[in-house]
């Protein structure tokens, strides 16, 4: 059986996995993809948080100005509406 490397070398000693460059490149590509996905999810979550925080500020301002009842009534009225259909092509 042909050994691909010199067993006398420490870094190729028994117990260490041996990876070819192709395998390492594939691993790095997977890591990059996972990193991209995480970054996307983080941006979405941060956008949600910022949007909710901004909305909370808006609602608080509205409630202070017109009262909680009016804002709550508007929310209930809007919640009763059907979700508008997304036009084709969007």
């Amino acid at each position: 059986m042909t050994q691909p490397f010199d067993l006398q070398d420490d870094q190729y000693a028994t117990g260490h996995a041996v990876y070819t460059r192709a395998a390492v490149d594939a691993y790095l590509a997977a890591v990059a993809q996972r990193r991209q996905e995480l970054m996307t999810q983080i941006r979405i979550a941060e956008a949600r948080a910022a949007r909710a925080e901004l909305a909370a500020g808006r609602v608080a301002a509205l409630e202070r100005s017109v009262g909680e009842l009016v804002v709550g009534a508007a929310a209930r009225d809007l919640n009763r509406r059907p979700v508008p259909a997304v036009p084709e092509g969007d």
């Binding site: 990876y19 691993y27 996972r34 990193r35 949007r51 609602v59 508007a74």
Partner: protein, 345 residues
């Protein structure tokens, strides 16, 4: 001249130490990103939960904010216009949502002494709006171009038509209220003097209130209002003036001596007024019955005039199916024939 290194082969073995360092660095980076994601998600959930507590579960977006701001604007306009009592709006949180958007200026009700009946009427108007418009309210949907709000003239005209159909008859006008009547102008309503003694009278501002709250007035039925003050009528805003100018109600002068109107009094061609005996000194305006309405069932015609405003003779006439004037004419004809026969014999 150096010798370039050959391209690394896909089968080249990467030293394990390099692989381990690379894997550790990538794992640390991914863990950091995952931690950031968890923090961001937790923040978003916390903010959204706090938002849900204040907005009844509505995810606040531009549509919501636009709708709320529209409500606020209408709320402010309603309050500023003085047409709605702020206390009533406070009592009902849905009122700003369901009240109609401020379109063309509705006829303003002239200032009057607020009575209990007025307060009840206002409450009823508001409840009407709540009941009817709440089911149809769609704040974000802009009105269709062809669905333009009616003009003030149309509103007043509809209100008067509704009043003619459903409101007390004598409440529409009194002799002194129709000084500007144009007898030759086409009219939707003909007036026939009768010996009515109904004491109901509406003044100009009542008509304006009728135009503003027609549904409420229709449900309330009979409304007794005090006689109008001439000075108040003169100062009444445009609604009363338009109602007075519009040849909607005709007044027929009453002769001094009792007469019998033999022919129907027609003010407009398609409108036929029922001939009724007249006594001097009494004038009552009754709704005309359009020619096409003569074929309507008796019950439908009976609904137009409240029963309490119709004298008993009229009720008996309707139920018997033979109007009094027909019976009178028939009797006269019989008397003439009897005289002729008596002469001949």
């Amino acid at each position: 001249m150096g010798i370039p290194l050959p391209e690394p082969s896909a089968t080249e073995i990467v030293p394990p130490t390099v692989v381990d360092k690379t894997v550790a660095r990538c794992n640390a980076e991914l863990e950091t990103l995952e931690h950031r994601l968890e923090v961001a998600l937790a923040t978003a959930r916390r903010n959204e939960e706090r938002l849900a507590a204040t907005s009844v579960g509505r995810v606040i977006d531009d549509e919501f904010e636009t709708a709320v701001l529209e409500v606020v604007e209408r709320y402010a306009d309603l309050i500023a216009s003085g047409r709605v009592d702020p206390e009533i709006l406070v009592e009902s949180a849905l009122a700003p949502l369901v009240l109609p958007a401020p379109g063309p200026a509705l006829p303003e009700v002239p200032a009057r002494n607020t009575t209990a009946s007025d307060a009840a009427a206002s409450d009823e108007m508001l409840s009407d709006s709540l009941l009817s418009d709440a089911q149809l309210s769609d704040l974000a949907t802009p009105p269709a171009p062809e669905a333009a709000p009616p003009a003030v003239e149309d509103v007043v005209e509809d209100a008067v038509e509704d009043a003619v159909e459903g409101a007390p008859v004598a409440a529409l006008a009194e002799p002194g209220d129709l000084a500007d009547f144009q007898p030759d102008a086409p009219s939707a309503v003909s007036a026939t003097p009768t010996n009515g003694t109904n004491g109901h009278a509406h003044d100009g501002d009542e008509l304006a209130a009728l135009a503003a709250g027609r549904r409420s007035r229709r449900r309330r039925g009979t409304t007794v209002v005090t006689r109008p003050d001439p000075s108040q009528l003169a100062a009444t805003p445009a609604v009363a003036v338009e109602v007075a100018d519009a040849p909607l109600i005709a007044e027929v002068p009453v002769p001094e001596a009792p007469v019998e109107v033999a022919a129907p009094v027609e003010v407009a061609a398609p409108v036929v007024a029922a001939p009724v005996a007249v006594e001097a000194g009494h004038t009552e305006v009754v709704p005309a019955v359009a020619a096409e309405d003569l074929d309507a069932p008796d019950d439908e015609q009976a609904e137009r005039v409240p029963a309490e405003l119709v004298d008993d003779d009229s009720v008996e006439e309707r139920h018997s199916g033979w109007p009094a004037h027909l019976l009178i004419h028939a009797g006269l004809i019989l008397v003439v024939f009897a005289l002729i026969l008596f002469r001949l014999s």
